[in-house]
Amino acid sequence: MQAYLLRRIAQSGLTLIGMSVLVFVILRVLPGDPAKMLLPEGAPQSAVDELNRQLGLKEPLYVQYGIFLRSVFRGDFGQSFQYRAPALLVVRERLPATLQLTLCAMVLTVASGVTIGIVAAVRRGTRYDYAGTVLAVLGQSLPSFWLGIMMILLFGVTLRWLPTSGFQNWTYLILPSITLAAYPTALVARLTRSSMLEILNRDYIRTGRAKGLAERAVVLRHALRNATIPVLTVIGLQIGTLLGGAVITESVFAWPGMGKLVVDAIYFRDFPVVQTVLILSATIFVLINLLVDALYTVVDPRIRYR
């Protein structure tokens, strides 16, 4: 298993390098003049020349990439010209708010998605199952920004129950978390349901029932544990959905996180910040999926990787 983990770590490293190439291509190769893009508008020619020299823009591409990679490793992501501070600092300041929101949404996704899925599978064909399916289809079809706005309209504007913009205490978390969690919850619910249905037909479940186990124990200890593997994979992949969804959700609720930061940064053409957010969120995604892979072996001891 150690060998497996080592190999996965090496693979993740490779993925991260590939990711840095992609960011480099998008932000340095696609635009005509990266120096102009990385500097505020109306910057003097001397500054453009200086940055050209720093980034080695006259050098061949692979040298430029080397320079790019070296500065990234040193934590030098350039200066945000919107905030006049190092881009990494600007992004790091916004990171906790986004992590709080995504974590909250993740907990909501797992708790409600898995519960709905189990109930739907155990009560297959009843109105509980039917209601769960309708909820899941709706969750996958309503655009998150619209759902968010409609909740603002209902709970904020009309009923005045909940705050709808900014972040001061935990009540501010409620609406954005539900908005962000809706889509992944639907996905997890459907997957849990189908995964549970498959497992509930297995022989060992019948054995469990035959030897007189309480239905609770059959479902929660024997079936759920085995149904967890595919669900876990999807949850890991949903981190990407959540981080991406945060871009839109944070814009809807004026949430002071990384997602709103990147949208604002693009309006101001603050590319050092855009670059930092891209690299940081991809890194988080890779690390979390590495963690999920490691978790498999805990959930299912049968998994012994070659």
């Binding site: 635009p31 893009m37 990407g240």
Partner: protein, 278 residues
């Protein structure tokens, strides 16, 4: 037909929803005499018909007095065309890449699949807004960005299928009969991967509509004054307290299309690929 409908209600319902929306967008000039972009300040924030408005503007008017019903119909045209082109492009590229990678294997296969892994590390919408910020919001750029988010799923599915199919007896038989590589791939391997491709393309249409309207909502998709559902929603957000219909109406339209495409996708999956039944 009736029997088909009873066995596959999802395909039928989803198909009808999509068909109606497509027809409404295509026939926009027949369905409304209004101009979707001409402001009319006397009509500012006029309520929908039945809620204090008139039948001339059945869904009310927006902050510039433009007819929301007309904007909805014309905005649908743009969203649907962008999403359709993106699905076609993503499917074409994905299928081709998947076929080649799966059939030839080796280094090329490794490279392509690693590339797919790398791309998946970025949240779709972040990658999309970063690229749009650099290359601009022309329709071509938008279709390209949308397609970029979709090719991986096709490529992976087709590749996995090809890997199983290429060692089946009928493929060996075609080989033995002297069929060329191209013929084997396109006549014998491709047709047997069509079912999952169709299923994916259908649900992907839903994703594309969501992504396009999301981009337009953030101001990085279809640019004003062109009407787009996401853009209308964004404008309506500022008028929630006094004109709720501005943001409500386009959201219903997006949800309907996405719902239709999702139902169609689910139905097709049940129909064509019972193993994947969720």
């Amino acid at each position: 037909m009736l029997a088909f409908a009873r066995r596959n209600p999802l395909v039928l319902v989803g198909g009808i929803i999509l068909l109606m929306v497509v027809l409404a967008s295509v026939c926009a000039p027949l369905l409304t005499p209004s101009d979707p972009v001409r402001p009319s300040f006397g009509q500012r924030l006029r309520a929908p018909w039945g809620l204090g408005g008139t039948s001339a503007r059945p869904l009310g008017a927006d902050n510039l007095g433009r007819d929301i019903y007309a904007r909805l119909l014309y905005g649908g045209r743009i969203s649907l065309v962008l999403a359709t082109s993106a699905v076609v492009l993503a499917t074409g590229v994905g299928v081709l890449v998947g076929l080649v990678a799966g059939y030839l294997g080796g280094r090329l296969d490794d490279l392509v699949m690693r590339l797919a892994d790398v791309q998946l590390t970025f949240p779709v919408i972040m990658l999309a807004i970063a690229i749009v910020a650099v290359v601009g919001t022309s329709p071509f750029a938008l279709v390209g960005v949308l397609a970029l988010s979709g090719w991986v799923l096709h490529a992976r599915t087709v590749r996995a299928n090809v890997l199983t199919i290429r060692h089946l007896e009928y493929v060996d038989a075609a080989w033995a009969l002297g069929a060329s590589q191209l013929r084997v791939v396109f006549r014998h391997v491709l047709p047997n991967t069509l079912a999952p491709i169709l299923v994916i393309a259908s649900s992907q249409f839903a994703t594309m509509v969501l992504l396009e309207s999301g981009l337009s909502f953030l101001g990085m998709g279809v640019q004003p004054p062109q009407p787009s559902w996401g853009g209308m929603l964004a404008e309506g957000r500022d008028y929630l307290s006094n004109a709720w219909w501005l943001a409500t109406v386009p959201g219903v339209a997006i949800s309907l299309v996405v719902l239709g495409a999702n139902l169609l996708g689910d139905g097709l999956r049940d129909l064509l690929d019972p193993h994947l039944r969720a």
